[in-house]
C-alpha cells in the first residue's frame, strides 16, 4: 500500500516534469534555450518515472534493468546535449538574448 502511494507520487512527478520539458521545447525562443527544458525531461522526468517503476517492481531483475536504463540516460544525455550545443555554436548559430523583444 505504502509502496503504491510512493510509486504513484514518483510517477506523477515524473509525468509532470516530462510534460514541462515538452512544453518548453515548443515554447522557448531559440535552440539554445530549448536545450534547458529538454534536460529537465532527461534528468528529473526520466529519473522520477524510472524510480517510480523501480518502487513498483520491488527487488528483482526488473529493478536492476531500470537502474541500468537510468544510468545510461544520465551518462549519455549530457554528452549528447553538449555535442549538440557545441556543434550548433561551431556552425555559427547565434544564441538569442531577448534584446529585440524588449523582455524585462
Amino acid at each position: 500500500m505504502v509502496q503504491d502511494i510512493v510509486s504513484w507520487l514518483l510517477i506523477a512527478g515524473g509525468a509532470f516534469f516530462v510534460m514541462v520539458g515538452g512544453v518548453g521545447l515548443v515554447r522557448m525562443p531559440d535552440f539554445f534555450t530549448r536545450l534547458h527544458p529538454a534536460s529537465v525531461t532527461d534528468t528529473m522526468g526520466a529519473g522520477l518515472l524510472l524510480t517510480g517503476f523501480m518502487v513498483q517492481a520491488g527487488a528483482s531483475l526488473v529493478t536492476v534493468k531500470l537502474v541500468l536504463i537510468l544510468v545510461f540516460l544520465l551518462f549519455t544525455s549530457p554528452t549528447a546535449a553538449h555535442a549538440l550545443a557545441h556543434a550548433a555554436l561551431l556552425d555559427g548559430l547565434k544564441p538569442w538574448t531577448g534584446k529585440k523583444d524588449g523582455a524585462p
Binding site: I11, V18, R34, Q56, T76, S77, A80
Partner: protein, 87 residues
C-alpha cells in the same frame, strides 16, 4: 498509474514532433529526435508495466544506447559536411 505516465509521454512526444516539424534549424530537429528517443525509452518501459510484461525493458535499454549513438553520428555527419562545404 502507468496510464498517466503513458499519457504524459504521448503528449510530450506530440510536442516534440511539433518542434521537429517546425525546425527551424537542423539542430532543433536533432534535439527533437533525441528527445523523442528518450521519451520512447520511457514509453516502452511504461508500456511494459501497463501490459504486465516488464521484459520489454530490454528494448528500452537497447534504445537508450542507439539513441545516443545515433545523435553523435548525426552530429559528426553535419560537422563533416559543413566542413566540406566550407572549402
Amino acid at each position: 498509474m502507468f496510464m498517466a505516465a503513458t499519457a504524459a509521454l504521448l503528449v510530450t512526444i506530440a510536442l516534440a514532433l511539433a518542434r521537429a516539424f517546425a525546425g527551424p534549424s537542423v539542430y532543433d530537429r536533432v534535439l527533437a529526435v533525441n528527445s523523442i528517443g528518450t521519451k520512447t525509452v520511457l514509453l516502452i518501459a511504461a508500456l511494459g508495466f501497463l501490459a504486465g510484461r516488464p521484459d520489454f525493458l530490454d528494448i528500452s535499454l537497447l534504445y537508450a544506447l542507439i539513441n545516443f549513438v545515433g545523435t553523435i553520428a548525426v552530429l559528426r555527419f553535419i560537422r563533416q559536411s559543413r566542413a566540406q562545404e566550407g572549402n
